[in-house]
């Protein structure tokens, strides 16, 4: 309901915005991200330094994802100049023509994985889907791989997987079948669905939000789960008896775009260039567990070496993980999600 009411209020806000005279000063831009601790970290790492450097004002807002951008662009009421999205959402929105073209003479793309550099979207940070288990149940002999997670005889206990993000669950389902990390993409969707079919009877909760995954593990409602590394890191910091690693993690990227019709496109371009620059990218892991998208950030010397090993996108950790392919999901998401729902929602 929160999301739906958000959409309603956005629709209303959009309506109001479209009737109001565009009175925004040219040196003010609005950036939308996911809110919460992640956006607080972005404010300190990206937004504030950029605003100071360019002498502009950066207003912030929060987004629910691609539907919000679609609503603004198709409703001709664009109020954001830059917004963050999941990389597969960027790939889908790009296909729908919702974004402005990016100018790579302004934005320096070196250091960013070419898979995340596109005409109208660019990678900004990484989240990993990792396997977490409770050490008060398993000690340090808990499930380490997704094959272990799928092995209900050797590791009895309650399980949770992501139900809202079919992309993530299908990726780990492929890993559970023993597919090596560099062969997971392109995902054999029917094979991965068969793998999900094997475990679904043993899944006690299909989580739909990061907060829910965290609550399930924290309260001991489940003994093991797939979870985003930021949430897993928070649990550990709070002293919950949990263990996780980046082995067989699924590295999913976030990206930023300029919604089509942005009134401050040129300044937005300059700001975006700052956000992805190694210098500011290196700030991000100082405040939050989401790794920088620009690997040159690790060469700036800003990130302490003992911190680097905890960051999901550090060169060491990237080798252990699968990089989720946004363009693969652009073309297969709808079909895969419907099939996944048919399997899970019964």
């Amino acid at each position: 309901m929160t999301r739906i009411s958000c959409i309603h209020s956005l629709a209303l806000a959009g309506l109001l915005a479209s009737t109001a005279v565009p009175a925004l000063a040219a040196d003010t831009i609005t950036v939308a991200s996911w809110g919460g601790t992640y956006q607080e970290a972005q404010t300190k790492a990206f937004f504030k330094p950029t605003a100071d450097a360019l002498g502009i004002t950066i207003k912030e807002d929060t987004t629910n994802g691609l539907d919000d951008v679609r609503l603004q662009v198709t409703g001709n009421a664009v109020k954001w100049d830059i917004t963050e999205l999941g990389a597969d959402e960027c790939a889908r929105g790009s296909k729908e023509g919702l974004f402005e073209k990016l100018d790579y003479s302004v934005i320096d793309k070196s250091g960013i994985n070419p898979k995340l550099v596109h005409d109208d979207w660019v990678g900004i940070s990484y989240t990993s889907v990792v396997l977490i288990y409770r050490t008060d149940v398993f000690g340090d002999k808990g499930p380490k791989t997704w094959a272990d997670f799928w092995n209900v005889d050797k590791f009895p206990g309650r399980r949770a997987l992501s139900g809202a993000q079919a992309t993530e669950t299908l990726s780990v389902a492929a890993l559970a079948e023993g597919i090596p990390i560099d062969k997971v993409y392109p995902v054999d969707i029917d094979g991965a669905l068969k793998s999900v079919d094997k475990i679904r009877g043993h899944v006690d909760a299909w989580w739909t939000s990061g907060a829910q995954a965290m609550q399930l593990v924290k309260d001991g409602e489940v003994d093991m789960a797939s979870i985003w590394n930021g949430r897993a890191g928070t649990l550990k910091k709070e002293g919950a008896p949990v263990s996780f690693s980046f082995d067989q993690g699924v590295l999913t990227a976030d990206c930023m775009v300029i919604p089509k019709g942005s009134k401050n496109k040129d300044i937005a371009m300059k700001a975006l260039a700052k956000f992805v620059s190694p210098d500011l990218q290196a700030n991000l892991p100082l405040y939050v567990d989401n790794g920088p998208a620009n690997e040159k950030a690790f060469e700036t010397g800003k990130i302490p070496p003992e911190r680097i090993k905890d960051i999901n996108s550090s060169p060491e950790n990237v080798k252990k993980q699968v990089l989720q392919d946004p363009e693969f999901w652009r073309d297969t998401l709808v079909e895969a999600t419907e099939k996944f729902n048919n399997l899970v929602q019964q």
């Binding site: 309901m1 929160t2 999301r3 739906i4 959409i7 629910n64 994802g65 691609l66 539907d67 679609r70 889908r92 729908e96 309650r158 949770a160 139900g163 809202a164 006690d204 909760a205 299909w206 989580w207 739909t208 829910q212 609550q215 399930l216 309260d219 001991g220 409602e221 998401l333 709808v334 999600t337 419907e338 729902n341 048919n342 899970v344 929602q345 019964q346």
Partner: protein, 306 residues
């Protein structure tokens, strides 16, 4: 002579003269009333009829923007849609049932209490209304989950050895939603029970009926209209519920509103989600019609026999 004059003056041949004038007058009056109603009707038209019409219109276009029934055909192609639809009605049915079982005795008790005590008790019925649904749902999670209050008490007392599955499943959704829906049943039911004439009950007793028979034959039938309206409100509200099933269902109890949210973000055309809204609206209206036909007729029957 007098009768002839009356005939001439009053009714013409067979009363048509006066009747025409009266009809014209009635028409004028209903026009006048309609004119008075028109601001309200205009409001209803702009804020309800037009948006719903637009919703229906949107649901007729596919992702390419072409006119098609694809958004509706999908319900039959993908098994999960029908399943979530059935789940929605199953949840609504169980929650309504639980609300009746809990709410009827509660409303009955309230209606029998002295007015002052009853109004204090009513505050406790209404109080949860002022607390956010989200907070109440999380509270239930804390109480019901595997290491929650109920399970830890029961295990400590030695009643059970394995924790009961009360949260993140169908039972959790029904418990959480019943708590939220209960006032919607109790309030109309209490109001209708208060209007029941105690003289009728006394008369029944006076004629030799036992208290149980008085309740069964007089009080219960007279409380049916209130029960019917409570049941309809609860059932219909349940059909569109989102927060509680999303949090208490553990992703295993997917209701139609949750499906709507998923579908809206999955497809690039609004029509995909709009079609779900149209179907829910149509089925809800059909159900309301059915309720009206079944319960309404019965309820009015009860009233007129009084």
């Amino acid at each position: 002579m007098q009768s002839a004059r009356l005939g001439d003056f009053g009714a013409g041949q067979d009363g048509t003269l006066n009747a025409t004038a009266l009809r014209a007058d009635a028409r004028r009056e209903s026009f006048g009333l309609l004119a008075l109603l028109s601001p309200g009707l205009l409001l209803v038209f702009t804020v309800i009829i037009i948006p719903i019409g637009w919703l229906f219109w949107l649901s007729l276009f596919d992702e390419g923007g072409a006119f098609s029934a694809a958004n509706y055909a999908r319900f039959f192609e993908q098994a999960s849609y029908i399943r979530t639809f059935i789940t929605t009605f199953k949840v609504a049915f169980f929650v309504t049932g639980a609300c009746v079982l809990l709410g009827y005795p509660l409303a009955y008790m309230l209606s029998q209490l002295p007015r002052r005590v009853a109004s204090i008790c009513l505050i406790f019925v209404i109080l949860p209304f002022w607390t956010s649904v989200l907070v109440r749902t999380y509270a239930w999670l804390v109480i019901l989950q595997r290491k929650g209050l109920i399970n830890s008490w029961l295990i400590d007392l030695g009643v059970i050895s394995q924790p009961l599955s009360l949260a993140n499943n169908f039972a959790g959704v029904v418990i959480g939603m019943t708590h939220i829906m209960l006032p919607f049943l109790v309030l109309p039911l209490y109001a209708s029970m208060k209007t029941i004439d105690t003289d009728c009950l006394r008369a029944g007793m006076n004629l030799g009926a036992s208290p149980a028979a008085t309740f069964r034959q007089i009080f219960f039938p007279l409380s049916l209209p209130g029960l019917a309206s409570g049941v309809v409100i609860v059932f219909v509200l349940c059909l569109g519920f989102f927060v509680t099933p999303a949090l208490m269902g553990g992703g295993k109890v997917i209701m139609w509103a949750m499906r709507m949210e998923q579908t809206t973000s999955l497809y690039s055309n609004w029509g995909a989600g709009a079609a779900l809204g149209v179907v829910l609206l149509a089925v809800t209206l059909a159900l309301l019609g059915l309720f009206q036909w079944l319960l309404g007729a019965r309820a009015t029957g009860v009233w007129s026999s009084r």
